[in-house]
Amino acid sequence: MNGFLSPEEWTAIGLSLKVSSVATLVSLPVGIAMAMLLARGRFFGRTLLDGLVHLPLVMPPVVTGYLLLLAFGRKGPLGAFFEHTFGLVFAFRWTGAALACGVMGFPLMVRAIRLSIESIDRRLEQAASTLGAGRALVFLTVTLPLALPGILAGVVLSFARALGEFGATITFVSNIPGQTQTMPSAIYALIQTPDGDAAALRLTAISIAISLAALVLSEFLARRMARGGVA
């Protein structure tokens, strides 16, 4: 196995998995909240907020990365805030890669969840409230489970995007082997090398295998849920 991939590549794979998982899981609650807000909120500036959520999709990834650098770098206002308040540093850390991947996947996640929330029959939520459930419980016991298809789709999209994300990541946290070099960064570096194609394709194949596994898992979960195992 060690002959098949270099230790650095193994590290990149592990890092990519970590980064993608953390990016997806951490952005999930935020994504759900944002999806609720956009699906249900009726407030001034809703469309603007919606536009803001879509930004990482519209802007070239390097621009997103650059803006992240400005905001979340050690000298950036948000970066300084997080460092002082939570001791959380993004610059040149895997945490930054996760942040970049999370941001890039965010619009995909929000849209999918929002679609599901919007297709929920609100009369079911009303029924729950007549049974004594307050807003939070209605959300937890009815809205959320019924939005599960969208949540799953959102997780898959965001995770896949994170696995492939490269432009924003490398621009924000650069490409430090073992620290911020995710699979796509490694692949990119290989492609830039005159005889790196084979190695690049090998790594790509591994990304694909991982995402396929994630996909199969999500389909399996979706089917189990449709069969009704969810409380």
Binding site: G73, A91, N175, I176, I191, Q192, G196
Partner: protein, 235 residues
């Protein structure tokens, strides 16, 4: 356009200037596609409608040459550049580049050295070579932050995220938020050169003329204004 040029992204400012001069003189329109040299080389291999390839390093020009995709007679090693160590504008660091100079100490435990990708981006490759020759590579390697192009590396330094960076002299010159700490000795790295050649499959009748002009003194100021050195040698 009359001539399509595939040029390394780092040439943008200089080449845009030269193209304007050329157009003013001849009325000929240039279309210049800026991307990374690797991209461009592979596209030419795939039959891209390029007339001229202006690479940022020798490797990718050699890649095409090996496949007989460029006109060897037209190949010229056109420009040279310097490799410099930069720091944020307000940095107080003083370092003299020399054998075993204390770069690692200057970086500290957490400070990053921003460079282009050491495997793929030319500036990264040269930087690694220079640091190796100077005997400091091993000590700084864990702290190297590789960017996918020189501009990103420069941005890390300019925004103060990295205390030091290695970039081309041309880039350092154009960025007001960094200052040059030192210039790497030419002997410490392979010479930094930008070869240009006519693409073998080019059908543009104006390509040869443009390439000749590019090799003429009329083109020279546009490049020197951006900090490139004008090389005379063929090759």
């Amino acid at each position: 356009a009359d001539v399509t040029v595939f040029a390394a992204a780092s040439l943008k400012n200089a080449l845009d200037g030269a193209a304007a001069v050329y157009k003013a003189k001849t009325g000929k329109e240039l279309a210049i596609s800026y991307a990374s040299s690797s991209n461009l080389a592979k596209q030419i291999e795939a039959g891209a409608p390029a007339d001229i390839f202006f690479s940022a390093d020798l490797d990718w020009m050699d890649y095409l040459a090996k496949k007989d995709l460029i006109d060897p007679a037209s190949r010229v090693t056109r420009l040279g550049n310097t490799l410099v160590l930069v720091a944020p504008k307000d940095s107080t660091a003083t370092l003299t580049i020399a054998k075993d100079f204390p770069l690692a100490e200057a970086l500290g435990a957490d400070g990053k050295l921003a460079m282009g990708s050491i495997d793929s981006v030319p500036a990264g490759k040269y930087g690694k070579a220079a640091l190796t020759a100077l005997g400091v590579w091993d000590s700084v390697a864990p702290n190297v932050a590789q960017a996918d192009n020189v501009r990103s590396a420069l941005a890390f330094v300019a925004k103060g995220e990295a205390p030091f960076g290695i970039v081309y002299g041309t880039d350092a010159k154009a960025e007001p938020n960094v200052k040059v700490v030192g210039i790497f000795p030419e002997t410490s790295h392979p010479s930094i050169v930008y070869p240009v050649a006519r693409v073998a499959a080019s059908t543009s009748p104006d390509a040869k003329a443009f390439l000749e002009w590019l090799n003429s003194a009329e083109a020279r100021p546009s490049f020197e204004a951006q900090g490139f050195t004008w090389l005379e040698g063929r090759g």
